[in-house]
Amino acid sequence: MRAGRLLFRALVWGPLAGKPWQAAGMAGAIALGVAMVAAIHWVNASALYSFKQGVEALSGRASTAVLPAGASLDEALLARIRAFPEVADAYPALRMTVPVAGGGSLPLLGVDLLRDAGVRGDYLPQLGEKGPSFTDLLQRGALLLGRGAAARLDKAPGDTLRVQYGTTTRPLTVAGRLPASAFWSDGAVMDIATAQWTFGRSGELDRIDVVLTAPDRREAFARRLRAVAGDAVRLSRPGLEARRLDAMTSAYRTNLNVLALVGLLTAAFLVYSLLTLSMRRRRTHFAVLRVLGMDRRRLTLWLLGEGVVLGVAGSAAGLALGLGLAWLGVNALGGDLGAGYFSDIGARLHAGAGDMLVLGGLGVLAAVAGTLAPVLDNVRGAGEAAMRRGAAEGRRGPAYAGRLALAAAALLAAAGLSRLPAWDGRPLAGYAAILLVLGAGLLAAPLALRGLARALPVRRDRVAPLVARAQLLGAPRRAAMAVSAALVSFALLVAMATMIHSFRASVTDWLDQILAADLYVRGGDGADVFIPAGRWRPIADWPGVRHLEPYRRLRLDWAPAGGGSDPGAPVRVTARRLQLPEAKGAVEVMRGHWPDAGDERQVLVSEVLARKYGVGPGDTLDVPLGGHPRRLTVAGVWRDYSYQWGHLLMDRAALARFTGDHRADQLALYLAPGADRGAIRRRLRRTFADAPALEVADAAEIRRHSLAVFDRSFAVTYVLVVVAVGVGLIGTLQSLAVQAVERRGELAMLRFLGFRIIDVARAQAWEAGLSGAFGGVLGLGVGAVVAVILVKVVNDQSFLWALPVAFPWGLLAAALAVLVAATAAGGWLLGRAQGRRDPTRAVGEE
C-alpha cells in the first residue's frame, strides 16, 4: 500500500500537481467535452422519455390503439370493434392541440368520462359539493384543466378560455381541475360528446384504445379490423409510437451526438499534445525507473494513471456541467434543442445513474486515449538513456516518407468509405471517413508545416520572423504538436460552417423560388388551423387579387412499401392548384415532369420520399384518402426542404374530390400589377380578426421567419463548434507556453546575443502567429475535405437531401484571422514573460 502510494505520487499525482494550470486545462477540456456529450444526450433522452411516458399514460391499460390513416376515424367503427370477440372493451378518444388566444396552445383530450377509468384511470375530480357536478361537465365547452396547464395559462375553475379552431374562436369553460396525480397535467380533458359538439366533430374520433381479451388475440383482432376498415386505419402500440419518434429523429440526434463526440475528441487531442510535451520532459525519470528495475508494462500502467485521474476529474466536472446545460436546454430550447421535432412534447429533464456512468466512462476513455500515445512513445528503450548526459532526446518516429505514405493510405481509405451506403440509416462509413481524413491531416502536418515555412519569404534583416521561421524549419514535429489541436478544431469549424452554409444557401434559394406569392394567410408558428371554403372563396374576387391559391395539408400515417425497418414516419400531403403557372414556377422538379393537366391522379413526390422508399417517375402509389386507397402515379420528384420525412404534392381539386374536404389551411395571394398590397393586407387582417392564430405575411417575412427557424435548429451546432474551437485554441496556446518554458535557455541565449525583451516577444509572436496561420491553413484544407464528406455523404445519407457544397469564404477568412491574431497575441505575452526572466539564471538552469 505504501509502495503504491509512493509510486502514485512519483508518476501520477506529482507531475499533475506540479503543473496545476496545465492539469486544470486538460481536465477542463475533458469536462467541456463530456458536458457537451452529456447535455445533448440528456436533452434528447428527456424528450423521448417524456414522449414515451405520455404515450404510455395515454394508452393506459390498452395494449393496442386504432388510429386513422387519414384525418379521423368514423365513430361507427367503435361499436363494430366492441362487438369483436377478441375485444374486452374499446375506449374512444378525441385528441387535438388548439391555439389559445393570447399565445400558447392547449392539448385537449376528449374521452368517455364515465368509462375511461377502465383504461386510463379515474382522473375525475371529486364531484358534487366541493367540485363540479357531472352536468357541468356536459355543458358545451366545459373542460377539466390539468394543474400544469392551469399554471401556464393562469386559469382557475370558473374562468373562460378562448381557443381557436378553424377560423373561429371558441370559448371554453374551466369546470374544474384534474387531480394532481392525473397524467394529463399539461392539457385539458373534456367529455367526448361535449368535445365533438364544441368543435363540430360529431361522428369523428382520433383514436380507439382497445383492451383485448388476451394478449395472443392481437393478430386475430388485426385481421378482423383490416377486413372491416381496410386501409383507413392503422394499429399501434405505445412502444411502437415511441420507437417511431426515435426513428424519425434518429438522424438529427445522431449527428448532434457525433458532433459532441468530436468535441470530446478535440479534448482528447489537447491531452495528447500537452502530455506529449510533459512526458518528453520526464523521459529521463522514466529511464531512471527502468534502470532501477521497473519493467515497461508496469511503467506504462502507472503512466496511464495520469489519464485516468484527468478523466475522472474532468468527467465529474463535465457531468455536473452537462446536467446544468441539459436543464437549460430542455427549459429554454425544448427537447429538440430548437430543431422543432419535439415541439409539442413538454419535456422534463430525465437523467439516469446508468447514463452518468456511461458518459463519465466516455470522458475517462477520451483522457486515457489521449494519454496512450505519449506513454508508449516515452517508455520505449531499455532505460540506458538515463546513463547518458543530456538524455532527454526527442523521439525519432516514422520518417517523412512513412508519414506521407500513411496519410495517403488514410485518404484512399476515406475515399473508399465515402462510397459506402448508410447502415441502418446511419452514415457510419462517412463518419469513419472523416476520422481518417483528420488523421491524414495530422500525419502530414509536420511535412506541410516545413513546406509552408520554407516557402515563406522573409528578409534577412527581419530578425524576429527569421528566428521564427528557423524554429519551424528546425523542429517541424514540435511545431506540428503545438498546432495540432488548433488544426483539428479549425478543420471542424471549416467543415461545420461549410455544411451549415451549404444547407442554408440551398434553403434560401429554395425559399426564394417557392415563396412566389405576394401575400400569405397561414397558421402562425405551424398552428393547426383551417379556413372553411366559405371564408376563403370570396377573397379570389377582391380587387387587386389576380390569383388565389388555397393549400390543404394533411399528415398521413401511411408509407409506400419499401421503407425498410423504419416503423413509418408520417407522410405529408400538400394539395394546391397544380395547373396555376405560378405553382409550376415555384417548384423545382428534379426528375420526371410536372403532372399533366387533366390527369388529377398524377402527383409529385419529394426527394426524401423518393429516396427513402425507392419511388420514382412512373411508379404508382396507393394512398389512403377519404377512407379508401387511391391509386396515384408519380409524375416527378420535387425539391422540398419543408418536411423531412416524405412529402407528396397533388392537385387540390383531386384531394377535395377524394375526401370531401374543401377547407384550406393556407392561402397564397398573387396580386395584380399595381395592386395596393398594404390595403389588401389590412383587409385580410380584418377578415380574419376573429382567428388570432392565423397570420398574414408576405414572402419576405416568411423567408426571414423560416431562416430564423433554420438558424435556431443549428444553434446547438454553432455552440458545439465554438466550444471545440475554443478547446483547440487553448490547447495550442498551452502547448506554446510549455514549449516556451522548455526553450527558456534558448530564448535567454538570444538575450545574451543582444535581443531586447521586446525582440524576444516579437520573435515568439511571429512563431506563434505563423504556427497559428499554418495550422489554420492546414485546417482549412483538411476541413474542406471533411466538409465535402459531411455534405455529400453524411448529411445526404442522414436526411436524404442532396445539397451542393458552398464555402463561406468570408466567415472562414475572418476565423483564420482571429486564430492568427489569438495565437500571435498569446506568443507575444509568452515571449514577453520569458524575455523578462533573468537570462543568467535561465542559461544556468540548462
Partner: protein, 224 residues
Amino acid sequence: MPTETAVHLEDVRYAYPGAERPLLEGLSLELAAGEFAAVLGPSGVGKSTLLNLVAGLALPASGRIEVLGTEVAALDEAAAAEWRRRNLGFVFQQFHLLPHLTLAENVALPLALNGRRWTDEEVADLLGRLGLAGHADRYPRQLSGGQAQRAAIARALIHRPRLLLADELTGNLDEETAESVLDLLAEVVAESGATTLVVTHAPEVAARAHTRYRLAHHRLQPEA
C-alpha cells in the same frame, strides 16, 4: 580475499546500430565478489556503455556476460528489470532524483519497486549515516549537488544490492564535495560488501578503488 566471481565479461563486442566500427571489441573483465573496481577513460570511449552491458541494459553483438551468476543478455525485458531491482544499485552523474518525491521517498524507491515494506526509521538511519539527517522531507530542488549525490548513493544502497554501478558520480561536483562523496562511498561499500564498479575520467576517483582498468582503443587494460 573474496574469491566468488561477481562480474564476468568475456570477449565482448558492442557496436551502436548502424555504426561502421565497434565501440567495444574483445572486451574482457572479471570482478570478484566484494571487489571495488574503477574503469578510467576519456569521454566517449564507451565507459557508460560498459555499465549498460553489465546491467543488461544493452545487448552485446558477441561475447559472454555473466553477472552474479546470471547471463543478463539472455533475459527478456521483464526478467531483466526484476533482476536489476533485486540485485543492482545505480548512482548516476546527474543524480536523477525524482523531483516530485521527498528525499526519503526517493531513497525508498527501490524498496517500493521491490514491493518491500520499510519504516521511516530505516530510511532516516541510512540518511543519517550519509550526512543527510534532518533532510528527509526536503525536495531535490532544495539540495546542494553534494547532498543530492549522497541521497542518490543512499537510494542505490537501501535495498542492499549485491552489485553497485556508478557512472561519473563526481562529474557534477566541486573538488571538495567530490572528496567527501568519495570518502563516503568507500566507507559504505566496505560496510555493505557489495561489488562496486565505478566508471570515471578522473584519476583521483579511480585511485579510491581496489583495482583499476583503463578503457582505450575499444579494450580494457588493467592499470597499475
